[in-house]
Amino acid sequence: MSHGNMNLTLKIWRQNSGKEKGQLVTYPVKDISPDMSFLEMFDVLNEQLVSKNESPIVFDHDCREGICGMCSMVINGRAHGPKTGITTCQLHMRSFKDGDTITVEPWRAQAFPVIKDLTVDRTSFERIQAKGGFVSVNTGTAQDANCLPIPKDDADSSFNAAACIGCGACVATCKNASAMLFVAAKVSQFALLPQGKIEATARVKNMVAQMDLEGFGSCTNTGACEIECPKGISLENIARMNREYLVANCKD
C-alpha cells in the first residue's frame, strides 16, 4: 500500500430490479488512492467483483466532469456526498479518511423508481420537460443579438437557472421528495427572457401539473435543495415559479 492510500468499508445498496427487494451489502475496498474520484473507486471495486464472478454494481455516469447530471448517489446521507457544489464524479477520495465506513444509496423518491442497484429511472423529469421546458420557435439563422435587448440582470438570472443539469439531487435531498427546484429552474430560465414570455402561461401550468402527476412531494421551503444542488440553483427560482403560477392562473 503506497503512502496515503486508504482502506474503506462500503455499504452499498444492491437491488436486482424495481420489483425485487434490495438491501445494503458490505464491501471492503483496499489501497484506494486519495486522488481517485468516487466513481473511479467504484470502477476498482467493480473490477474486483467481476474477477470474482460477482455481478458489478450498476450506477449511472456519463461525462465524469460534473455536467451531465447522471452520477446520482446518496453518500453517507447526502446527495453527491459530503462536499457542496459538486456532483459525485467530482468528489475525490481525499474527502474521506482511512478506515471510514461509507454508505451509498440510490436517489429515493416515488417518482424515481430504482432500475437496478444505484440507478434510478428519472424519465419523470423528462416528461415534465416535455410539457413546456422549451420554446416553440422555428429554427433558422439566429437573429442579430442587438435586435433583442435583454437587461444584464435578467440574462444572468436566466443563465444561472439554465445551469440546472437535471441531476435530481434536489429531489433526493428534500424531505418531501419535491421537484420544485428543478421545475423552477426550467420555468425561470424562460420566464426571464422575451423568447419565453409568449408561452409563459401554459408552460408553468403544464409543467407544474405534470410535476404533481408524477408523484413528487410539495415544497415546504426547508431550503435543503438549494444547499445540496451542485449548480447552486437558488430558492429565488421557486418563488419566481410560484409567482408565475399565480399570475398564469389569474389570467384564465
Binding site: V74, R78, E105, G217
Partner: protein, 223 residues
C-alpha cells in the same frame, strides 16, 4: 403549447398558497389576542381585561370574524394534513442514512409535528376559556373571565402545558412566517432578509408576551 392543467387550488402550489394565507391570517389574529390579554397588566382586578373580553364575546363584527377564524384554522389544518400525507407518500422507501441537519433546520422539517402539538394545545385552550365563555353568553350570564384565568393558571400542570404549547408555536412561526412569503413568491435580495428578521422578532415577542401571562398569574403577581 396547449393548456392541460387542473385547477389552481388542488395543485401542490395552490395548496401551499392557501396554507400560507390562512397561516398569515392566524398570525394577525395572534396580535389582537395578545393585546387583549395584555389588559391583565393594568392590574386592576381584571376590570379592563373583563371589559375587553366581554366586548370580544358580544360584538357582532367580532362574532363574524370568529367564524372566519375557525374556518381559517380548519382550512389550515386540513391542508396541512393532506400535504403532509402526500409528502410522506412521495418517498415510500426511506434512506438508511440521511444527513439533513447540514442542509435545513430541524423545525422547518417538523412543521407537521409542531402543528399537531399546536392543535392539541388549541383543544385544551378552547376547553379552558372559550367553552365556558360561550356557555355563559348562551345562558345570558356575565362571565368573569379574569377569575377563571386565575383559577386555571393556579395549576402547575396547566402552566406546563401552556408553556409547551408556546414553544411549539415559537418554532412553528419561526419557519412559518418567512415560509409563507416565499410561497407567495415574495423573495427578493433586499427585502427577504427584512421579512426573515421581522418574522424572527415577531415569533420571539409574541411568544414571550403570551408566556408572561400564565407565569405572572401562576406566581400571583396579578391580583
Amino acid at each position: 403549447m396547449s393548456n392541460t392543467s387542473p385547477n389552481f387550488i388542488t395543485s401542490s402550489i395552490g395548496k401551499k398558497f392557501l396554507m400560507g394565507f390562512t397561516g398569515l391570517f392566524l398570525i394577525s389574529f395572534l396580535v389582537i389576542h395578545v393585546l387583549i390579554n395584555a389588559c391583565i397588566y393594568f392590574n386592576d382586578g381584571g376590570a379592563t381585561f373583563n371589559m375587553a373580553a366581554s366586548f370580544m364575546a358580544h360584538n357582532i363584527i367580532i362574532r363574524i370574524v370568529e367564524v372566519g377564524l375557525f374556518l381559517g384554522i380548519i382550512l389550515h389544518v386540513v391542508q396541512a394534513l393532506i400535504i403532509t400525507l402526500q409528502n410522506n407518500k412521495a418517498r415510500p422507501q426511506k434512506y438508511a442514512v440521511q444527513n439533513l441537519a447540514v442542509s435545513s433546520k430541524w423545525y422547518s422539517r417538523s412543521m407537521g409535528l409542531l402543528g399537531t402539538l399546536l392543535l392539541m394545545f388549541l383543544v385544551v385552550h378552547l376547553a379552558n376559556f372559550w367553552v365556558p365563555t360561550k356557555i355563559a353568553v348562551f345562558k345570558g350570564e356575565e362571565h368573569n373571565t379574569f377569575e377563571s384565568l386565575k383559577t386555571v393558571f393556579s395549576n402547575p400542570i396547566v402552566l406546563a402545558v401552556y408553556l409547551l404549547g408556546l414553544i411549539s408555536l415559537f418554532y412553528h412561526l419561526l419557519h412559518g412566517f418567512q415560509s409563507a412569503f416565499q410561497t407567495f413568491g415574495l423573495n427578493h435580495k433586499k427585502y427577504t432578509p427584512c421579512i426573515k428578521s421581522f418574522g424572527f422578532w415577531y415569533s420571539v415577542i409574541i411568544v414571550l408576551l403570551f408566556a408572561s401571562m400564565p407565569i405572572t398569574l401562576f406566581m400571583g403577581l396579578i391580583k
